[in-house]
Amino acid sequence: MRVLLVDDETEFVSTLAERLAIRGIDVDWVTSGAAALEKAEMHSYDLAILDVKMPKISGIQLKTYLHERCPDLKFIFLTGHGSEQDYRTASSEAGVEAYLVKPVHIEDLLKKMNQAVSKE
């Protein structure tokens, strides 16, 4: 499983990536929407884990762009606070498999990741 991890908090995204790597998952991490689009141009991914709120390009916008480029890509959203509005927006999006509120338990995330990828 090749995963693209996008969050504007460097400390968070890098550590989470390292923890997923320890568990044998092939993870690329970036801290902005623009960098994520660049990565997606270069590599193909099975799953993208996106933070909802990010400067310039938000997680929702990024998902739309990525979905246009790779229709098979699955998405999991992460958010700092689980507002009703965010949840509704995120879960109504096509291809969104899960919506998790930070801080996330790695086991929950792994479970959701596996579920998302196994749907293929």
């Binding site: 908090e9 968070f12 550590t15 390292e18 320890i22 709120k53 938000s58 700092g80 509120v101 801080p103």
Partner: protein, 573 residues
């Protein structure tokens, strides 16, 4: 007294917090009472005064008419009395020859006949041209008496008739004399005279219908009383009142007597005599019926006014109290809604803070998770530096959380009322620190322009925080992502500082501009707008003694300017 005092009496608008009562109840009550009482009572008083005046004048007219009639009738009676006797004398001299008259027996017989028929005759006398009384029948010895030099004798010769004033005869009884001149065919003449007692006069006058304390009598043209009076002195004394001016007709005049009491005087000059008929009455006695009627009217008026005042005061108190209670309810409702709005805004603030805290918490979670992963999943050699690095990152995140909570606590503390020396820049930075993340995510550029010369001044920090937070939130809500907000402070004049919030958001339609500060006015109902944000802000700015203005155009952003007074002392705030 305390029980009678209505609830609104001691109410002061200042007690009601940020939502003030719209009314000055005491003023409304006073106005209602005065206006209603005036409208109800003034016409009543005017009507009563007009009525009293009309009835007074009409009563006075009636009195004048009554007295005039009485004077006129009495004058006719008195005149008739004198005429009758005058004609009797004329008849005697015309139907009897001089020679016959001077025979004592004849004259005595005529006197007897007169006494028995007409009455009032005391004596009879015949006076020749030289003034000598050549024949006399009566109770006195007056035969041979010469009247040549008497005033009355000269008058008879000139006018052919004389009627004397009253005088006391030898019997101390008032008398009057009537004398007529009779010309003889040979050119000579003689005078025929009689003395009348005034008893008959008095009888005529005393028989008249009179009101209490009124008087009917005769005076002569020197003001000497000729017939008995009830209140105005004895016969042949001078009347205290002036002799009324001569008039051919009956007159009614008013005099002030010695007791300063107003007298109504009706009088008539009796033709061919020295007499003036006087009818005198005390005006207040004549007006008695009017006075008692007007007393009833005035009492009724007083009772009516008292009743009207009681009803007006009662109704006004009740109505104003109802308005007061309704207004209190309105104020309470608004305060409740304000409280809910405050809670909702705290909720939004909490959500923002939760998000901010969740990020470092997520980092802590991940770092700790990684440490655990390293310890449990990796075999043996874990670099010490790696663990130290992870622990440091955890500590840094903890510090970040602590900083947020400290800032939040500080903010919450200032939401309470606290008058202190404030620094506008500090408060704006404080407010913006909570919104910087949102600004960052939404790519909103916030530019703060607060020059160094803006002084610190005394104000309520919590209220200023609320004003700035509301205006910033408002601007954020109006702007799309990538908008621009400029916050600038300027010294407006010596005593005022103005803080402008200029956004390039959706703006406000000209038609809505006047209503933006009205409670519950919102254009964002479907987006959860309560319409209270700007209304509350407006209230708070007013509480601080400032003003808030808005310039905006639909699609061209909005420019809110808060102008606050620069107070240097705590007492001013």
């Amino acid at each position: 007294m305390k029980r009678l005092k209505p609830a609104f009496w001691d109410y002061r608008a200042a007690d009601s917090g940020s939502f003030k009562s719209l009314f000055n109840f005491r003023r409304i009550w006073k106005l209602a009472v005065i206006l209603t009482a005036c409208v109800a009572i003034v016409p009543l008083i005017v009507l009563a005064i007009v009525d009293l005046n009309v009835t007074k004048h009409s009563t006075e007219d009636q009195i004048t008419l009554r007295i005039s009639k009485l004077v006129s009738n009495t004058e006719r009676t008195v005149s008739f009395f004198l005429e009758e006797r005058k004609y009797a004398l004329h008849f005697i001299v015309k139907s009897n020859s001089f020679e016959k008259l001077i025979v004592k027996r004849n004259l005595a017989s005529i006197l007897e006949s007169l006494k028995q028929t007409i009455g009032g005759f005391t004596d009879l006398g015949v006076i020749d041209a030289s003034g000598k009384q050549i024949r006399y029948v009566g109770p006195y010895d007056l035969e041979g008496k010469n009247y040549r030099n008497e005033e009355w004798f000269r008058e008879v010769l000139e006018r052919g008739l004389h009627i004397s004033d009253a005088f006391l005869g030898f019997r101390e009884v008032p008398h009057i004399v009537i004398a007529v001149k009779h010309n003889l065919p040979d050119g000579s003449y003689y005078v025929f005279r009689t003395t009348l007692d005034t008893e008959r006069f008095n009888k005529i006058l005393s028989q008249l219908e009179r009101t209490e304390k009124s008087d009917v009598f005769l005076i002569n043209n020197q003001g000497i009383i000729q017939t008995p009076t009830a209140y105005h002195g004895d016969v042949l004394t001078k009347l205290a009142l002036p002799v009324p001016a001569y008039s051919d007709t009956v007159k009614v005049v008013e005099y002030n007597n010695v007791d300063e009491k107003l007298l109504t005087v009706g009088y008539a000059y009796i033709k061919d005599s020295p007499f003036i008929l006087m009818i005198i009455a005390q005006k207040d006695e004549l007006m008695k019926s009017w006075t008692s009627t007007s007393l009833v009217l005035v009492s009724f008026l007083a009772v009516s006014i008292t009743l009207i005042l009681l009803v007006v005061v009662g109704v006004a108190t009740r109505l104003v109290n109802e308005i007061y209670l309704a207004d209190q309810k309105r104020v309470m409702t608004l305060a409740e809604v304000e409280h809910s709005a405050k809670l909702a805004s705290i909720g939004r603030l909490a959500a923002g803070v939760a998000h901010e805290i969740n990020n470092p918490l997520a980092i802590i979670g991940e770092k700790a998770g990684l440490m655990k992963d390293l310890l449990s999943l990796k075999d043996g050699n874990i670099e010490k530096n790696k663990l130290t690095g992870l622990a440091d990152a955890i500590l840094a995140s903890v510090d970040r959380c602590a900083a947020i909570t400290i800032r939040l606590l500080g903010f919450a503390q200032h939401l309470k009322v606290s008058v202190e020396m404030v620094d506008i820049k500090e408060i704006i930075d404080d407010v913006l620190s909570f919104l910087s993340k949102e600004a960052n995510y939404r790519s909103i550029e916030v530019k703060v322009d607060i020059p160094e010369n803006i002084p610190r001044f005394v104000s309520d920090r919590g209220k200023l925080q609320q004003i700035f937070l509301n205006l910033t939130n408002n601007a954020f809500a109006a702007m799309k992502d990538g908008g621009h907000l400029q916050i600038q402070a300027r010294i407006k004049d010596e005593g005022h500082v103005s803080i402008a919030f200029i956004d390039d958001g959706c703006g406000i339609a000209a038609a809505d501009l006047e209503r933006v500060f009205d409670p519950f006015f919102t254009t964002k109902k479907e987006m959860g707008g309560t319409g209270l944000g700007l209304s509350i802000t407006y209230g708070i700015v007013q509480e601080l003694g400032g003003t808030i203005d808005i310039i905006s155009e639909l699609g061209k952003g909005a420019w809110f300017t808060v102008t606050l007074p620069i107070k240097r002392k705590y007492q001013e705030a």
